[in-house]
């Protein structure tokens, strides 16, 4: 397992998203909801170093507001636990759903 893949796994694990096994010849990975297992996206293994963490961090507000993440709401709840003040601000800005 490459360092980049481990970096991607850690970055997404922080917001409640699991990196699945390699799919499609090993270059791309499915992203699954950490709670219900639904596919929420995909990602490739050639991101640059430190890129995965930065991307997920930049998307914090989108998970908080329910603009990204699983319909089951898991990432919304996980991000609330990470930073409640930022979570509230994001939901005020984007009008997050319940």
């Amino acid at each position: 397992m490459s360092d980049i893949v481990e970096e991607i796994r850690a970055a997404y694990g922080r917001v409640g998203i699991v990196l699945d096994r390699p799919a499609t010849y090993g270059t791309y990975y499915r992203l699954l909801c950490g709670k219900c297992g639904r596919m929420v996206g995909n990602v490739g293994d050639r991101l640059l170093p430190d890129m995965a963490g930065a991307l997920v961090e930049q998307q914090f507000d989108l998970y908080a507001a329910g603009l990204l993440g699983c319909p089951c709401g898991h990432q919304r709840e996980v991000t609330r636990g990470l930073d409640a003040a930022r979570w509230e601000a994001a939901r005020r800005r984007h009008g997050g759903s319940a």
Partner: protein, 279 residues
Amino acid sequence: MNPDHETSVIEDAERRGRTELWPFWRRIYAQGDPLPRFTAPGAPPSYRFDEGEPLPAEYRELLLKMLRHEGERAGNKSFLGLMATCLDLAEAIFPDAESKLLKAEYLAEELKHAIMFHRLAVGLERDFALRDVPYVHYTFHLPRETWADDALFHFLVDLNGAFHARDWRESSYAPLAKMSATVERDEVGHSEMGYHFLQQICGEPRGKALVQHLLGKWYPAALDMFGRSDSKNAPRFIHWGLKSVGNAEIREAYQAYVDRKLVALGLDPPDERKNRRFL
């Protein structure tokens, strides 16, 4: 089956796939040539090579480098893998049945390109035709977690392919010049498909806010795809007639095209230097 018949079978299949929307390039080209023509500095290169002709070593090396980067080849399993991720997304997060069908038309057309580039590769170097070349540029690996991500991927990344294909119309490698108009037209259509999805998503405020936010991820990556402005290879590509312009010039034209379309959606193009990796 002779090659002309093969072509007519594909053309017939494409005709039957036409809808009011698909192919998206129709309406665009009806208004004229959408992409700028690039002109090589100085006198045009006098080189011209066809399939089967001996190629100078540097020419062959640069041509193969360009085709490795392009990637759309039937024998390149990493390309097929990328296409599979598009199907995965279409299954998991498609907004409606029409969008899913449009995505299938897109895939069919990309697979047509894979056949075309396969033929070109076989005519150039048989071993290369079967070589697996994973996409190296990070843009092809960025996470896609929403239909808006996928729309931006098509609008921006397929448009990059269209700009390069436009430049290949004047390519000194005849097989590439022959297929360039089809590839360019189709890639413009794929970009327009992405733009069509963006128009739908930006139709409501939350969608527009999402797209504006995600531009922070896709816009710098799209500009980075053209490579470094001081690339030492670019003058060699131009010398051999494989490209007409350097990375900076083609990026600048691309950016102007993209910015105009983003502004039409009511979006703010991000700072062109923010989050860039290859200036």
